[in-house]
Symmetry: D2
Subunit: 360 residues, 4 copies
């Protein structure tokens, strides 16, 4: 249920509506738009008296939301969400590039890669410090040491950091080092983890599970939004099908369809979605043409030696060439690659401001 | 097994190799390239004496083909196949556009649509006269009447015609009216039909089955090629997965992967692959960015009244707008939309020349 | 739409209803049950005047069918269809066993297998004379020679014959030799072929496509029923999924669900559904426990030498042991294996009587 | 890598082998069988000197394990694992029945159901206190209150308790109340949770993810086994496919295939695997015929009022009737339903003994 306020409603009127929602046992989520304010009412709404709200000053109308997700739906929030990381904005006309190795393997490997992706034009450095692996005997990541290496790369090269968090307990630690918390595909329905990242104010990138529908992805995003963290972006990274020539099937249909259903930014990951480095450049171009707001691409200086996911990693020179081609396609669809002013990146980013913070 | 001849081999030497393959019980398929000729040997090769061939004049070497398909593989035919329809060439730098209604419903509906898609820049008119339908009670197409209407549109608007053929018996009839024979997704493994279209010299567009792997698609193409018809193009039109927000899942990974595996042109059909008109423009752009050689798009003047597949049809004005955007993306990947000189389309196309016809 | 006649309606009244349906442009399918007759009206029913039918003598009521299939639905035909092959009845309490090799490879191979499966208790001999193969270079079957070998085994061992038909043209030939025509999984939506087998009176076993839904299976059965052939049985033989330890995923859920939706007998094929001989016995038991009316099992005297599908074939002794275990499970669910009196099998079965033949 | 000791090896010799494995940096998992002992070596084995082990007293041979899972493989542990819960043994000839509601909704609902399933012959009571739900707005379970109600039902009716645990933090709490910890399908690759249940000595039932392969299931089991908890059973509960008439596709192939690959007991859950109460009885019979060691079935006194998964719940009388039929099929495959002596269930089960405890 969405309470739409009049364009000229006052802060006092909005406050009164919010208070009344709370009294009725449901949870109000005010969304402050440029033209008007709406209050999404989530949780138990059976005892909410619609008529009473309609009579309150400042209220224009009340609409129901048909989708099972509310805060994530475009119905409740028609404007695109824009996530701000100091100089970088995700979800607007400019496309952001996340790149780096699957795993942080060593200081020299990460710094070499960070240098190369920064030179090529990437904005955000990816690299797993905690790795979800199907086998308990596979490399599980460097842990805290990996986070420290990422932090060093951040300062040296002026790159934002995105890295995966795997357990609720690790959220505060990872949030201390990372600019964006990544929820991996296998954890898309790890509801305890979704709750945990909903309570911090770091941006979150939620990857679609390889077995999950778009609706389930949006419902998992809803867990984070309902927790109070509105800085959520979604990532399409391939789904599991019968096809065996590629590791996954890249569901690029999800880009235009999600864009209609939700206001959240959409990132595409052609590396995991294909599992083949030789298909990554073409699919990176396709993702941008389909409307993605950003790309996540695996880059490794020596893919043959990578401890995980080597066959899908680009070498630095191929990555640089790919970005040159991405830029041309971006311009053909009236977008461009982000440019971050050199001074934009502070030594340590504070928790970013809430994307939907009150106007006043 | 592939017999590679020397660059300076003579027609007599090539002829001797072909004759010897026939004597050994296998079938020779000579492929005449610009630089050199190779002879693909298909069928039963257990009794073929490799040593004997190596000693023949003009033979350079013999290689095995690891893929289960041979004629369709890029190993046996490194150059791209280019299918020529008078003024139009499919499989080169220029991208071809096929457009029209799912079904030919009436003369006025088809002519109105043909006029619109020609104006917008399409080259080939699609329209089903024989329709494969899951239910025996659904509209099954106008049959011969539909073919006649297509032929009329062809002459009036200078558009090539592509239409589906569903049974071996109907192949001669459909080949009389159509410039390109379409094998639908449900018939991709209808081997009797594949045999039948392998024996005519009309170009064939083979659609990937919704349940078929890329390997199976290439093996079905192999049936047509082994029958002697080398003018085959493949079409990715979406596969069946668990996702329910779209009718199918568009496997655009197939475009770059098939481009590596085969020399045949690849067409993409965003209309069937999404099932939603509102996702078609974005996915048309994505397909071109991924490297497709052509697009097949459903267009209907009044989608609400369509007898089949209305929800995925674009209205003419939206189609025209989409093509303008496609053109920009094509140029961003160093391609362009085909332009056909007005005089290119003869009143009735003869059976096109074999794409691999002998040099002499 | 279903016109339900009164229990005491006369042949003349029924005839008048049928004639009126024809006049209105739709097709009547009378179904003569033990207690009463109903007339299923298929095709174009928009111009059918329901009121007029309700006023006719002998008519009790008119009901709509919600499922997209009508003749196949249990709504229109509540009693189980029983297919009669002289002494054998398919679809009742007794379970039928179809067994034999994937392909007829030679006279000696087939006769040896026929002898073994007859000894073990099978009723129907399977064996492909025309084989649908993904590759044009794989063994395609012995063709007519294979049919003749099957006919010889039929006479020698008193086994009914089931074999696949792949093209509309081959239907008369195969129907001359086979007691049951098999439509393979790849041809489940080969509508020309479905039409063709709908016009003969041989029983048909329609295999579910490897990526076809139950609804599509029932709609394909509807094509055959609407053609006038009511002797149709369905076969679950596994669907395609992401799981790789088995060739297909055996969808045994389909057995109880189809039993609710349709009156047609359901056969289960654990050989194709698993692709592993070591899982066939367990899954044969499971299929019977789930309610299947029959089993189709691949048996080969020397699976290692089989030209097709060797890894899923049982050796004769293991097949015999499996049938002993199947019999025990059948009895635990109040069924048993069929026993055919020795004299039941005529030298050449005539086209069997229509399961729904008129009473008079 | 598996070190196989001689039948007459001494405890001292075994101890020396174990110590040497530890020195080399890998982890030894001794498995004490009836006839002989083997030591599975897991983790980093590159620096392990095989020759040195072969020379040690008591060592017979060293074998490699080809599967990516070791402790879970039948190669390393040929005998079936039997999990002992006082009077109940899971993984032997007797079949165990787990039944109860999807969620604990109230004290009266649970006690009524517990009474009914005990009367019908169930051994273990299921009921979710913590519920993983796709939507943050769905009923999330009663939490600790639910655990207390389960404990009360345990004492009143002499039923063991199985209930789901969703986060690593909750493991100690749930292990205090439950006899078996359930890992739900969505958490099959929640590696933090797998680690946590690997460190307690409660038996664990690991449900297969809805789009997880058998191999991934075994690798997730390996996480628990490698943590030191050998009391693991697996549960097939249906996988996600394109079929829409059932909620999931019950992959019963997994029962015989997993039985070959692993020594762990296999439970089958026809309620989630079909999502339709009307298919549950048939598929319960099928699962037992396929070789399952136990069944998990949802039972609710008033399915229409259930807060979750009502459409797949059996009413108590239908559940009782189903168990009578299950018993007959079990006997037809030489098994039976477990019978637990009344005095078997202690007021509070201690942590069960390790199934693989040392002999001495």
């Amino acid at each position: 249920m969405i309470i739409v306020l009049k364009p000229d409603s006052t802060a006092a009127e909005i406050g009164a509506v919010i208070a009344r929602v709370q009294e009725s046992g449901a949870t109000p989520h005010p969304i402050y738009g440029i033209e008007r304010t709406v209050v999404a009412v989530v949780g138990e709404t059976r005892h909410v008296d619609r008529e009473a709200f309609l009579k309150m000053p400042g209220v224009e109308k009340i609409t129901s939301i048909s989708a099972p997700y509310k805060l994530a739906s475009r119905e409740s929030h028609p404007d695109d969400t824009v996530i701000k990381l100091n100089g970088l904005r995700i979800g607007e006309r400019e496309i952001v590039i996340m790149a780096g190795p699957c795993s942080v393997e060593s200081r020299s490997q990460l710094l070499e890669t960070a240098h190369a992706v920064k030179e090529a034009g990437a904005h955000i450095l990816r690299g797993g410090a905690f790795k979800p692996r199907s086998s308990p005997y596979s490399f599980q990541g460097l842990g805290l040491k990996g986070l420290e290496i990422l932090a060093e790369a951040r300062e040296l090269y002026g790159l934002y950091i995105i890295t995966e968090v795997m357990t609720p307990q690790a959220v505060p630690l990872v949030a201390e080092y990372a600019d964006i918390l990544q929820i991996g595909a296998r954890n898309m329905q790890n509801f305890g983890l979704l709750h945990a990242v909903g309570r911090v104010q770091r941006p979150v990138m939620l990857k679609r599970g390889m077995m999950s529908s778009m609706e389930e992805l949006l419902m998992s995003a809803e867990y984070i939004l309902a927790g109070g963290n509105y800085n959520v972006m979604l990532c399409e990274r391939g789904i599991r099908t019968f096809e065996k020539y590629t590791r996954n099937t890249f569901d690029l249909n999800a880009v235009p369809v999600l864009k209609q259903l939700t206001h959240l930014p959409i990132i595409a990951d052609p590396s995991h979605a294909t599992g083949r480095w030789d298909a990554v450049p073409a699919m990176a171009l396709a993702a941008v043409a389909a409307g993605a707001d950003g790309l996540m691409i695996e880059v490794h200086p020596r893919p043959d030696e990578a401890l995980s996911d080597g066959p899908q990693s680009l070498k630095p020179e191929r990555f640089a060439e790919t970005l040159r081609r991405v830029k041309r396609v971006a311009e053909a669809v009236d977008r461009t690659l982000s440019t971050v002013p050199a001074e934009a990146l502070p030594l340590r980013s504070p928790a970013p401001a809430d994307a939907h913070a009150p106007l006043a």
